[in-house]
Symmetry: C2
Subunit: 324 residues, 2 copies
């Protein structure tokens, strides 16, 4: 079984790669669990290969020649995580549209030429929701994005649903909650602060919170996200039906509740500086904080137990580097 | 004021052009009614210029050079009607995706370079709805297309909403009901039969009905559609808010009710041959037949009074050629 992870140099892509390497087996297009023969990590920049040795390919996902090389042999599974994140896509419309939409379309076009359609797990986002929203987002709440990132993700959802209907591939699209706590450095996601305000103080460093303390966010831990990717991949497509887009389970936590949990975990809450950034505050307030993800729950997806557990898992997984 | 109509060689584009020429004035980006200085009709094939003499430009909407020539001077208004219709887009995925989506994107990209963003009226379709639908489609029913045409239209809706938010243009997207009665010959729209079963018998000719008699359709007359285009164009953008997509008012009529109305209008209902076509029946049954278009009604859009009026208007507008 050959597996491709785009965005493989990213934190979630890397975590997924380690998880798959540890498992060694995965249920794919055959409907049976099979041994993973090859894992290919694709990203724009080369990354160090993991100890288990997945093949690493780097290049621009928008370049057909790069994709042609990547698809020298057929894949059974594609985890498509690569994207220009929210604030990045908002700052550079063309970059967002070409990477997030054209990149996804280019993958789809290349996959169409395969002998057998692979299973694809595509990471969409709760950023497809915006504007005047109901208090609780249901599975049938329409996508009304108020940012280019969300618009591009919603366009991909439609394209990949249609490509699945046409038999080109077999997609499972997951609208990810905000992932908290990400390790490493802040990125250009407008939600990047939600990890910073926990991660940096745990390491004894200051962090800036650019949004109002009362804003509620719909969050999920990295561990749970990776579990969701694998679970989505292994589901029988028939169980998903024609609409392959799922709102994932998560946890509703206000920004001030996150900071309180930081304190309970031994972090210095005084290291969080409240410094509102209008553009980030605007984008984040358009994202919904409460969901009723009945379809995903019925399909066996799970959310996290609580914010304290999420922080504890971060401390376990990223240990000393996290200052724990 | 300079106005562009794409799909200008089509029946609705031509009707709109005549209506605009008759009016001579239109409210556009300035918010004031202004004289129409130039009307440009764009389509893939050249069409005879109307008596009032709009400029006619032909070419492939996917060709950047064609668009560059078309946009030699800025437009104040763009009515974007050009599209590969439903059964055509279903039969040829690439043609549908490149014309319906890339064509719209190419227009948007060209419009971005203008000094002033024009108002744009974009024709989407009720084909964005499909699958497991509520009995009545509401304004907040999500787009879940079950055909490539609907998927491509829904992708354009998202792109143009985002382009409006970014200030590139000022779109008003109308999800058209099935337009009945179209004059002329059948086209590749899966809904083409809905006009044929009235138009052909009125002219003494046979027609094939490829769908079940009980199927309910959400229809609108050509007259009402053109009125909606003009009304949408003249609305203040602020009244529309961030989501520029509107379900238009229409009329719920079953196919057998259409045939009964044909009889009342003097047509020979015996000329309708019921010959079910599985692929058309499948596509048409995925389209919803009942709507509650509250937003459009509140914004002053109107539906037709009844199927008898629609047929009478067709007989008036297309006279002898219609066999009336």
């Amino acid at each position: 079984m050959r597996i491709l992870i785009t965005g493989g140099a990213g934190f979630l892509g890397g975590s997924l790669a380690r998880t798959l390497a540890d498992r060694g087996r995965l249920t794919g297009p055959s409907g049976r669990e099979e041994a993973i023969d090859e894992l290919v990590l694709f990203d724009q920049t080369a990354t160090a290969s993991a100890p288990e040795g997945p093949r690493v390919v780097s290049g621009d996902i928008r370049d057909p020649d790069v994709l042609a090389r990547l698809f020298e042999r057929d894949f059974d599974s594609v985890f498509h995580l690569a994207a220009v994140v929210s604030a990045g896509a908002e700052a550079d419309f063309d970059l967002g549209l070409t990477v997030n939409f054209d990149g996804t379309r280019g993958l789809m076009e290349r996959i169409r030429r395969q002998q057998r359609p692979p299973r694809m797990v595509f990471t969409s986002s709760i950023a497809v929701f915006g504007g005047d929203l109901p208090a609780v987002i249901r599975d049938d709440t329409p996508a009304t994005p108020q940012g280019s990132y969300g618009a591009q993700k919603a366009m991909c959802e439609l394209l990949l649903n249609d490509a699945t209907r046409k038999g080109f591939l077999d997609v499972r699209t997951l609208r990810l909650p905000t992932i908290v706590v990400r390790p490493g450095r802040p990125n250009k996601a407008a939600s990047s602060f939600a990890s910073s305000i926990i991660r940096e103080p745990l390491a004894g460093e200051p962090a800036v919170c650019p949004v109002d303390p009362g804003i509620e966010m719909w969050i999920q831990s990295p561990r749970q996200a990776v579990r969701s990717f694998v679970h989505a991949h292994e589901l029988d497509g028939a169980a998903l039906g024609a609409n392959r887009v799922l709102n994932l389970p998560g946890l509703t936590v206000s920004v001030e509740e996150m900071v309180a949990a930081l304190g309970r975990a031994g972090g210095d809450t005084g290291l969080v500086r409240w410094e509102r950034d209008e553009s980030i505050n605007r984008l984040v307030t358009t994202w919904p904080g409460r969901f009723d993800p009945q379809r995903a729950l019925a399909l066996g997806f799970e959310g996290d137990a609580g914010i304290d557990d999420i922080i504890r898992a971060y401390q376990q997984d990223w240990g000393a580097g996290a200052g724990a």
